[in-house]
Amino acid sequence: MSDETSATPPSVAMTHPPLSGEVGQTRPGRGLRRIQLATMLAVLGPGLIAGLSDDDPAGITTYSVLGTKYGYQMLWVLGVSTIALVLFQSLGARIGVVTGQGLAGLIRQKFGARSAVVAILALLIANIGTTAAEFAGIAAGFELFGISRHIAVPFTAVLVSLLVLRGGFKGIERVLLVLSAIFICYIAAGVLAHPDWGAAFRGLVVPTMPLTRDAVALATATLGTTLAPWGLAFIQSYAVDKRLTTASLPYLRLDVVTGALLTGVIGFFVVVSCAATLHAKGVSINDAADAAAALEPLAGTLAKDLFAIGLIGAAVLAASILPLSTAYSVSDLTGSPAALDDDLRSAPLFYGTFALVTVVGVALVLIPGAPLVAILVLTQVVNAVLLLPLLWFMYGIARDRALMGEYTASRGIASTYLVAIAVITICVLALGILSINA
């Protein structure tokens, strides 16, 4: 970006009076803008995909419960989570682009073998659990349409794996971007619920909450499900695999911020649609599928269908990204970086990890009597605990001049990260203390 602007000082063109003979000079400018749009479209992807996949079934469930239990009151938690998401997703993308290395490799390089293995092992466990949650979401979503999980889950798993194994980088990216469009369903469902927009706005900007264990847990869960460890690892690996360089940083930042804000907007509409209907009528729900079913008598069949389709799309998007993110991290840790365009033989560990995560995730959902609820709870705990060191590692890398060079985070930006990390730490600690006391 910088060399482009320095190559043609726009000030020169401005100081010249617009002579008729110079009309031709405006052409390169227009051409440049067109190329920049093309570049932006080419860069588009990592941020959008990584952001939106944070609105996975676990996320939708959390947002639904938030809206159903507390109405519009705790919308601001979602706002705070979105800001944290914007901050750390852009940081992850930036680290990936500047260093050209994945998070696992950098942690190994900067913080040593022990930190890296422990972090990636935790990530592996959490990701398997989260993948199970995604497939459970797929199962629940299809069951709303009367399709058995024994058909829907294996079918989706095969579809997702085929996509990754055969699609090539661009193919996968295209499908994932189309899947992301399904999230519009939630916005439609939200509008159909006829919410009280004034109350929603007030909830978004006025931070109040009941100081109960339940409310704190829900606030932490919202933060944790929005800012997921795998999302952070994913966006960095993905930017590396896409071979983006610092020249594309401005576009990438736009992409990441858009993705993160959209994530927040969709979460907002989920909360709002539940608040306007389920909370108003005092219905209680346990998960996103409950919410969809409960929506039907209150907001119509269309709202329910949109909600269910959104749930399935979200789950499929996340179910393809989770094994991918894990595979990137594991092969990065062992020092044999892998890429989506590598074939099976040259990257056995990459595809092996992908298969492991997918198969175990599917099995946990399909095996009758598997303690799915316990696994999902454990997963959330691992994710929350893992998030803190991961953010701390990212902060350390961002401040490392040897790694980041001229892109090292300045003191001002670094203190913003520190404030965000402090807030998240307080949330996790508060939840931990409240859980022990209870």
């Binding site: 051409g31 190329i35 020249a247 020092g335 001049r401 060079g405």
Partner: protein, 448 residues
């Protein structure tokens, strides 16, 4: 019966027991003569009297002399200070024990000097290039050995087992497990980002790598390592490697290096490949690269850029060998020889005094005729088919097949040769649209 056979075969394949135990002994003695660097970190440092002085923080080596890096000193933590001990003051380095040579050693605050590397901080867990295997590795551990009073880094362990060993308590983790150890002589290490590259030498083996392998290396490395490798390589090798990369990656890579270096790289590529790379860049970046190139090369590339993509002019190389009919076969041989090995010469264009194309000589023609023979006597019908620069890919393929050769001459409207299309460029052009298509229905049949 079959099962018996299988078992007998397995027994035959396994080495006899006594050899196996000897193999283990060899491994044990090798492992005990190597000192694991990762195991040394944190080890107690004692003086001659056996009194503890401090703990080892890092091992300092110099790359500049010899094949193997030599240990030049140790960084030791004494209280809150980090001090440097010169290797002359070190009596012995053994597994988890470092002894200093006297009770009074010269301790100075550690300051990195040019050409020095810290093994723990800069090498272990960082990316390295295994030149023999043409791949990027991460060092799980490094092994030291001593010859006389000097210590050398001789091996780099890249196995995951050795990496996991480091998670164990120090008593176990300091034991060398030479699992998959590479000879350090085959390693191209990288410096700490931000330090001058000039002090490090490129590994000799890098020049011998195939361009495609080099391209893979460049794609697998992190950004600063990639930049360092690029500047360590001779420009021709780097340019050859770029020709093997996917167009998108070339574009991004060229945007990532300084303009001067990018210009040198593009100028070093074959003209047709260089034009492809330039086409992918935005107008301004393209212009700035062309300005930085040697004028003659820039002129050639500019003229090639005039042709649209996908026609003969867009895929031809202007790098052609031109002869006149009066010259001899010997002259022609000399001209081909002077081109050097890097430039693919597939044939020689023969022109008359006005520069009009007479014939296309193959390398076979050079071999089959006497050096004193005049080219005039060799040329004659059948005359080669040619294409105009605006000919489409289909016409190019058709002419190429008709010629039964591996290349095709491109002429202007007045039948003057302006370039040559090599068969591999045609293949590239045909495949260019298909690299991302892996689904069965996307794969096209042969071009008809």
């Amino acid at each position: 019966m079959i099962a018996d056979l299988g078992e007998a075969e397995a027994r035959a394949r396994r080495p006899p027991r006594r050899f196996r135990s000897r193999g283990m002994l060899v491994r044990q003695s090798v492992n005990s003569s190597l000192v694991s660097v990762s195991g040394l970190i944190g080890a107690p440092v004692c003086d001659l009297g056996g009194a503890s002085v401090g703990r080892l923080v890092d091992v300092v080596v110099r790359w500049d002399r010899g094949v193997y890096p030599q240990v030049s000193g140790l960084v030791i933590r004494i209280g809150f200070r980090r001090s440097f001990v010169h290797v002359a003051d070190v009596a012995s380095i053994r597994r988890r024990a470092v002894a200093l040579g006297s009770t009074k050693v010269d301790l100075t605050d550690f300051q990195r000097r040019d050409g020095e590397q810290l093994l723990r901080r800069d090498v272990i867990d960082h990316q390295l290039v295994d030149v023999d295997g043409a791949r990027v590795v991460r060092a799980a551990d490094l092994y030291l050995t001593h010859v006389g009073s000097r210590y050398w880094v001789v091996g780099v362990d890249v196995s995951f087992v050795s990496f996991l060993r480091r998670l164990l308590p120090a008593r176990i983790s300091s034991r060398a497990t030479a699992e998959r150890v590479l000879d350090f002589a085959a390693i191209q290490p990288f410096g700490r980002p931000g330090t001058p590259v000039k002090l490090r030498r490129p590994h000799r083996g890098l020049r011998k790598l195939r361009p495609a392998d080099l391209a893979d290396l460049l794609e697998d490395l992190g950004r600063s390592e990639r930049r360092e490798l690029l500047s360590l390589l001779p420009v021709e090798s780097a340019a050859d490697a770029l020709e093997e990369m996917a167009p998108d990656h070339v574009r991004l890579l060229l945007r990532d290096v300084p303009v001067g270096q990018a210009a040198a790289l593009v100028a070093g590529m074959e003209p047709d490949e260089a034009v492809d790379a330039l086409r992918d860049l935005s107008g301004q970046v393209r212009a700035s690269l062309l300005v930085q190139m040697p004028a003659e090369r820039a002129r050639v590339l500019r003229s090639l850029l005039e042709f649209p993509e996908g026609v003969a002019g867009g895929i031809m190389t202007t790098n052609i060998v031109v002869m006149t009919a009066d010259e001899t076969i010997g002259d022609a041989r000399e001209k081909v020889r002077s081109r050097g090995r890097d430039e693919a010469v597939d044939g020689l264009v023969v022109v008359d005094d006005d520069g009009y194309l007479l014939d296309d000589l193959s390398l076979m023609d050079l071999l089959a005729n006497d050096p004193t023979t005049a080219i005039r006597e060799v040329i004659g019908p059948p005359f080669p088919g040619t294409v105009l620069p605006d000919a489409g890919l289909g016409d190019v393929v058709e002419e190429l097949i008709g010629n039964r050769g591996a290349s095709l001459v491109v002429v202007d409207l007045e039948h003057r040769p302006i370039g040559r299309i090599l068969a591999d460029d045609v293949i590239d052009a045909l495949l260019a649209t298909d690299t991302e298509r892996r689904w069965p229905w996307q794969q096209r049949g042969p071009v008809t």
